[in-house]
Symmetry: C2
Subunit: 401 residues, 2 copies
């Protein structure tokens, strides 16, 4: 990632610091994203009933006006922590807000890390002070914030866009995310912070974010475990000088947002723990979009499919069988499948193919494509997942306790 | 397994032979179970839409009277094989029936093995002849049949019961099953054949079998992939001399059947590929039984939960989080969890416990117990699964193509 290609929205400052939330390491573990002026915030959250305290805190507030700060820690998820956890999430917002001359009510919070452990509030208070003192506007500052929210991620996940709207104004969007690999000894978590200098009404911001997330972050999976802490926040501060977006301008913004998220989302399974292949699954001709998603998701989370790709095995029976077990009704005699462009199964019957050639194609490409064709309707979707390797099991079984 | 403790129903003969369905091996791969007289057959089958041809064949016929033979091959699932597969399933029934002096219509068939490959019909014909010539009534013959249906199973899975009914008659039940680990390079498959010398009406046999399967085989999982071929058949020949069961006698039979299946079912995940722990999950206080099953099944199929147990990590956050992601509504502040009897989470908040002690308890016991308590209703269930090990990935990724 080179700085010159990265578009930073106006009127935001960033910092990432180490404050000791993760003991015995020097990894950056506290991030601040601060808008110079109050902005509009939207959020999309995990559907897990045991959601983290920061999810409860943010969800009660968004969408709304008046937000200036997003504070994120990595190392402690503040999930399954009862009333003390809710108190601490509120306190973290206050520490972060007050450190930058704002208030707790102007601050949203995100946490990722071990479940069931209370936030070390002394470290959080220190993190807020340290980060506030280091806020800056450069790409390097943005990168530090993005680094500070990472857990077992091995690669930085940041994207940006600059778009000229139909009204002639130019706006910028930038996003950072982490996950969805495991963390410490614990849970997969996906966090994302998106900032823009466009001006938006809260309801429009929320609608655009929800639509973008549904087609992007909600279409990735490593092992299908919706975490306690998944959060995607959007903060729009209007610093571009552009009037509040409506009509075609709002549509153009929503498109840019969705495209940016679609670039960011597959970075998550591509950086999954132990991953050797990123699998893109395209489903066509399902009864409807929801059915297409169920079909793709079932294939994406199937241990047999994922181990086959790890072993470069064009084992199409596992893929077809996975689609048949998910409850979506379809005619099995009208299903076809391509892997990396090779037709392996056509209208419910095997096709002769060169097994060695397809196996080599999988082995020599990190990106693997499944195209699954039904003849039921116009439901389609693109979904991303990873393969399942021994290293994944090793990381999640042996690096614990 | 010693012969003297095994109760064989009257009027059945068994054989298991090698006929070459699996090339390059001498493993027994063809089994016959033959009743001297026509019996009543019931069946419960996979819900996978891409079910194997034998499933289609048997499902069209059961429950019914007039069945004498169950023929099973291991090595080829005859699934995703189109019209040729359906023709071959019918042909396999004819070969087997005619070899023992019965007909194809008196024969049911099961197949397990690679998906998408046509049955080698010359080997099947030879298997029927060879097995017919070796039919016998001893436990050794039963064991050979049970061995011939195994694929990557490492342990024989057989159980039996002798029960004296309220009417004073004594009946016997015996069962064999295979799976649900992987096979060859391919799909998990669970097959079971149950024989009894009780006399039953077809509808009663079907109801008793369906109820037993729902509480037993349908409550096991290795990785949640419902195969193309899962089949459980019951053949009741009435050779005990007992009158056709009704009322309290039928209830007593159904109880014996369910208890026998409950003994057999956990043998499947306990013999899962690479497995080092059998996990028994008890859910209490769910809204209803279906919810209890969804909760238990989600925990059972969770890669994070399964890797944690592989690593002897009392990582309760993963278990609690898994219950929260499955869509069953409950109050998260009223959930408690015990692992191997240790209380780790109580009413939505962490409990202090000796991590090393619980870890040692997991490490030193192959059997691991989860008890998850909700306060929503009286829904409860017992579910069995395995841990997820590097060896599982190795077997399914690296021993292929």
């Amino acid at each position: 990632m080179e700085e010159r290609t990265f578009y930073l929205p106006k009127g935001f400052r960033y910092a990432g610091v180490h404050c000791g939330i993760r003991p015995n390491t020097t990894k950056l573990d506290f991030a601040l994203v601060v808008s110079d002026v109050s902005g509009v915030a939207a959020g999309v959250y995990t559907q897990n009933l045991n959601c983290g305290a920061p999810v409860v805190y943010d969800r009660d507030r968004t969408p709304c006006k008046g937000i200036r700060v997003i504070a994120t820690d990595s190392g402690c998820a503040n999930a399954c922590t009862g009333k003390e956890g809710l108190f601490n999430a509120r306190k973290m917002a206050e520490y972060a807000g007050e450190a930058v001359g704002a208030t707790g009510d102007q601050t949203l919070v995100m946490s990722t890390g071990v479940i069931g452990v209370q936030l070390p509030m002394r470290a959080v208070a220190q993190g807020a002070e340290l980060a506030a003192a280091k806020l800056g506007t450069s790409y390097k500052d943005f990168e530090k914030a993005a680094t500070a929210i990472m857990t077992t991620d091995t690669k930085l996940k940041v994207v940006s866009r600059e778009t000229t709207l139909p009204n002639g104004h130019t706006i910028r969007l930038a996003a950072m995310c982490k996950g969805a690999a495991m963390i410490g000894p614990n849970m997969a978590t996906m966090l994302a912070t998106i900032v823009t200098d466009a001006a938006l009404e809260p309801a429009d911001a929320q609608n655009a974010l929800r639509a973008a997330v549904e087609d992007t972050f909600n279409c990735v999976s490593v092992e299908g475990h919706t975490s306690t802490s998944d959060t995607c926040l959007l903060l729009a501060n209007g610093a571009s000088g552009c009037p509040t977006l409506t009509g075609a301008d709002l549509d153009a913004f929503a498109t840019a947002l969705r495209e940016m998220c679609a670039e960011l989302a597959p970075m998550i399974p591509n950086d999954g723990e132990g991953v050797t292949h990123l699998i893109t699954i395209d489903v066509y001709g399902a009864p409807d979009r929801a059915s297409a998603k169920t079909l793709a998701q079932t294939v994406a989370n199937d241990a047999l499919v994922k181990t086959a790709i790890c072993g470069a095995d064009p084992n199409w029976g596992r893929i077809i069988s996975a689609t048949g077990r998910c409850g979506v009704p379809y005619d099995p005699s009208k299903v076809s499948l391509k892997v990396n462009g090779y037709l392996l199964y056509e209208n419910g019957a095997p096709v002769k193919f060169d097994k060695e050639e397809v196996s080599n194609s999988i082995r020599s490409n990190r990106d693997v494509s499944f195209e699954i064709f039904f003849q039921e309707g116009d439901g389609k979707i693109r979904f991303w997942t990873s393969d399942l390797t021994q290293e994944y099991v090793h990381l999640n079984a042996d690096y614990t306790t």
